[in-house]
């Protein structure tokens, strides 16, 4: 496959450069490549901008001509069923969140990843338990695949005491290092340098770990994104960026966000290979990450994967999507990743309707149980707000100050 060869070549090129540098000898300064280059033919050289057309990958169809997923996979039937469970869990957790939101039980907004679930689920599923992910709000699927229970998500959204943040921060803004889940903060792009640091440390600690940072077409515009990826790339660290091209950053379309036709075209700027994948094909997402992670893990360095997808809901539940042109939503509804995968499993004979309905029923049960658990949690005690700014064994909690040394 063309993409594999490109990746191989890039990896080899990087390894050759490293060899040449090392050949300078122990103690001698590494060659910077700053020696005088061989003379060229022209007074100046013109480099045209990257391709102006958006790349598109194949649309696999079943016998009835309907969209399914790629057949090129090593996934076992059991794994494929697991993927289905994760997809449905992601969707149903979000549906439950909307349900709770409409009952005013959620504090703040709900951010759906409707139509994008395959990207987060497929890519995260290809990783090892010892790998790390930094999902963003549209990547609930990755959070769940890493082993965070829906009950924690529900408790977070309802600002409850039993949530992992104990009410101090919202939705997925928490983490669990033991599960390889590093939760985001709201400032986009900030997680890229953090994940670079994760794998920098892993290298120092001689641990095998790949870091995956999710980002959107909008988040890629930030300085922190650029600085983080550039640093990871030059250090040849195993950082994989999953750039979800879902076409909107709040109301801002890609045409106002950046000048490239494919987010993957930005990879060249960092000296790293890129991939383009159908973000709504969960099997393809799995396969592309499998390949990218192997490349990164093997010493090839950082990789940029662009997942072509679409955000079918607004930025959050309150967003009425007035900026969407007519027909766009309908076109992408036809490419729904869950329906498509469902169809794929049946038509390829991996599962029966009964089996899939059984999985769905299990997922529904889990979602209901976990939501009930979260709802039963109390709200946090007010004074808890004072704790954990610092390690309280060294700096006391920041209690509400008393005026003239007295309470009211």
């Amino acid at each position: 496959m063309k993409t594999t060869k490109t990746a191989e070549r890039a990896g080899k090129g990087a390894k050759d450069k490293a060899k040449a540098a090392g050949a300078a000898g122990n103690g001698a300064r590494e060659s910077n490549g700053a020696g005088v280059a061989e003379s060229g033919a022209q007074a100046f050289i013109f480099l045209p901008p990257p391709r102006a057309e958006a790349l598109s990958v194949s649309d696999p169809l079943d016998e009835r001509g309907e969209l399914v997923c790629t057949n090129e996979t090593t996934l076992t039937a059991e794994q494929m069923l697991e993927l289905y469970r994760w997809l449905q869990l992601t969707r149903l957790v979000e549906e439950k969140l909307v349900n709770l939101y409409r009952q005013t039980k959620v504090v703040g907004g709900v951010f759906r990843s409707l139509g994008q679930e395959a990207t987060a689920v497929g890519t995260a599923y290809a990783l090892r338990p010892t790998d790390f992910v930094a999902p963003l709000i549209r990547d609930l699927g990755a959070v769940l695949v890493k082993g965070i229970r829906p009950r924690d998500i529900f408790a977070q959204y309802m600002a409850k005491a039993w949530g992992p943040s104990e009410g101090r921060d919202l939705n997925i803004h928490f983490g669990d290092v033991s599960k390889g889940f590093i939760g985001p903060i709201s400032h986009l792009g900030d997680m890229i340098p953090v994940m670079t640091g994760i794998v920098l440390a892993a290298r120092m600690q001689k641990k095998d770990a790949v870091a995956v940072a999710y980002i959107g077409d909008g988040g890629m515009s930030t300085g922190a994104f650029h600085e983080g990826l550039n640093f990871a790339a030059v250090q040849r660290l195993p950082l994989v960026i999953v750039a979800e091209h879902n076409w909107y950053a709040y109301s801002t379309p890609t045409s106002k966000q950046c000048a490239v036709a494919n987010l993957a075209d930005k990879a060249g700027a960092y000296g790293i290979p890129g991939y383009v994948v159908d973000g709504n094909d969960v099997v393809a997402c799995y396969e592309v990450m499998k390949q990218a992670a192997e490349f990164a893990r093997g010493g090839g360095g950082s990789v940029l994967i662009e997942a072509k997808t679409y955000r079918r809901k607004g930025h959050a539940e309150h967003d009425d999507q007035r900026y969407i042109p007519a027909g766009e939503l309908e076109a992408w509804e036809k490419r729904d990743p869950v329906e498509r995968y469902d169809r794929h499993l049946i038509s390829s004979g991996v599962a029966t309707r009964e089996k899939l309905d059984e999985v769905l029923a299990d997922v529904r049960r889990e979602v209901e149980e976990d939501a009930a658990w979260a709802e039963s949690s109390p709200m946090p005690e007010a004074e808890k707000a004072a704790y954990n700014v610092f390690d309280n064994s060294r700096v006391p909690p920041a209690f509400r100050p008393k005026v003239f040394g007295r309470d009211e």
Binding site: H187, D190, P193, T196, G197, I198, A201, A224, R394
Partner: protein, 342 residues
């Protein structure tokens, strides 16, 4: 070790203790912590083969290797972010800003990520963020910053600024061992100042973060200060002593969390307080200190709390302009005289 041998190996392991400059004390502290704890590493621009713009990290690359002394691109946000990520993995990074003026591109990562991680999900960031601060060296508006006021209002960041070689070594060790993010400001004027050369102990010692130090005991008037201005205060105190005024000088050493007890104790002892800092007056941390004294020691005061600080301008470049901008010994002397006579 003989002088001849010392000259041969320029970047060898420094002695423990001995008579050192401010910068040598910091380097000793870094070296000893890197020896003691394999999770400590350095990260920043030109910290490796160049040894740092001010040579603070000189010799550490040769000793500990590229694995633990990381030269980065010009990317302060990435430096801080990567330090945070490494800290999450249990490492103890010491990140350098080539000049503290360049802490500003990392303001987001410091205040939104480093400062809030423990609070939000219990993940303390045990990282040190250090660099040369301060004016008075004709370096102009972009190489002279005193940044403490930018960060004092952010819960979750500790800030220290030593003014002696002893404190510099003790505080860098304490900062590295601290479980939370510490901004470590080193006034660039102090690095090689002969006046600051002193004998420091051989043994492994730390200076507690959050403790001020009384540099000079007095009964008539307190000067609360830190960093290079401690020297201005001491010089002013000497001059005022000849006029019969007994000046107390408190070196804060830690700016956050501030040693409020020491400040209030001094205010109660002298009843007249002058706050001295090199950063501009308006919005400088002097206001915070003054407010705390007024709230909690008002009855002891015999005069308003007075601040001596730089003018409200960017730091100018040309020497006469910079001298006008910065607090001078004569400014402190004249303010103290008026305060004493109040």
């Amino acid at each position: 070790m003989s002088t001849a041998a010392k000259k041969e190996h320029k970047s060898n392991r420094p002695e423990r203790g001995g008579v050192v400059t401010f910068v040598e004390a910091i380097r000793q502290g870094l070296w000893e912590e890197m020896e003691r704890d394999p999770s400590v590493f350095l990260i920043g621009e030109d910290v490796g083969s160049y040894g740092g713009a001010f040579k603070v990290t000189d010799g550490l690359l040769d000793e500990f290797g590229e694995g633990r002394v990381v030269d980065t691109p010009i990317s302060e946000a990435a430096i801080v972010g990567a330090a945070c990520g490494a800290a999450l993995m249990g490492m103890r990074p010491v990140a350098e800003f080539q000049f503290i003026d360049f802490i500003t591109p990392a303001f987001d990562m410091l205040t939104n990520y480093a400062a809030k991680c423990r609070y939000r999900w219990g993940a303390g960031i045990a990282a040190v963020f250090r660099g040369p601060c301060g004016a008075g060296v004709h370096a102009g508006p972009f190489h002279s910053l005193n940044a403490e006021a930018f960060f004092m209002n952010t819960a979750g960041l500790k800030m220290v600024e030593p003014s002696t070689a002893y404190d510099a070594k003790g505080l860098i060790k304490a900062a590295i061992r601290d479980p939370d993010p510490v901004l470590f400001f080193e006034h660039k004027k102090l690095y090689r100042l002969p006046r600051l050369r002193e004998e420091i102990p051989e043994d492994d010692y730390t200076v507690e973060i959050g403790r001020a130090r009384t540099r000079r005991e007095g009964r008539d008037l307190s000067i609360i200060t830190f960093g290079a201005q401690v020297l201005t205060a001491l010089d002013a105190a000497e001059e005022l002593e000849r006029e019969g005024l007994d000046i107390e000088v408190i070196d804060l050493r830690t700016l956050a969390p501030m040693d409020k007890e020491a400040i209030l104790a001094s205010a109660r002892r002298t009843s007249k307080v002058l706050i001295l800092h090199e950063a501009s007056r308006t919005g400088g941390i002097g206001g915070e200190i003054a407010a705390a004294i007024c709230e909690e020691a008002f009855e002891w005061l015999d005069a308003p709390v007075v601040r001596v600080a730089a003018t409200d301008t960017p730091v100018p470049y040309s020497p006469p302009l910079e001298e006008y901008h910065l607090p001078q010994v004569r400014d402190v002397v004249s303010a103290a005289r008026r305060l004493a006579a109040y």
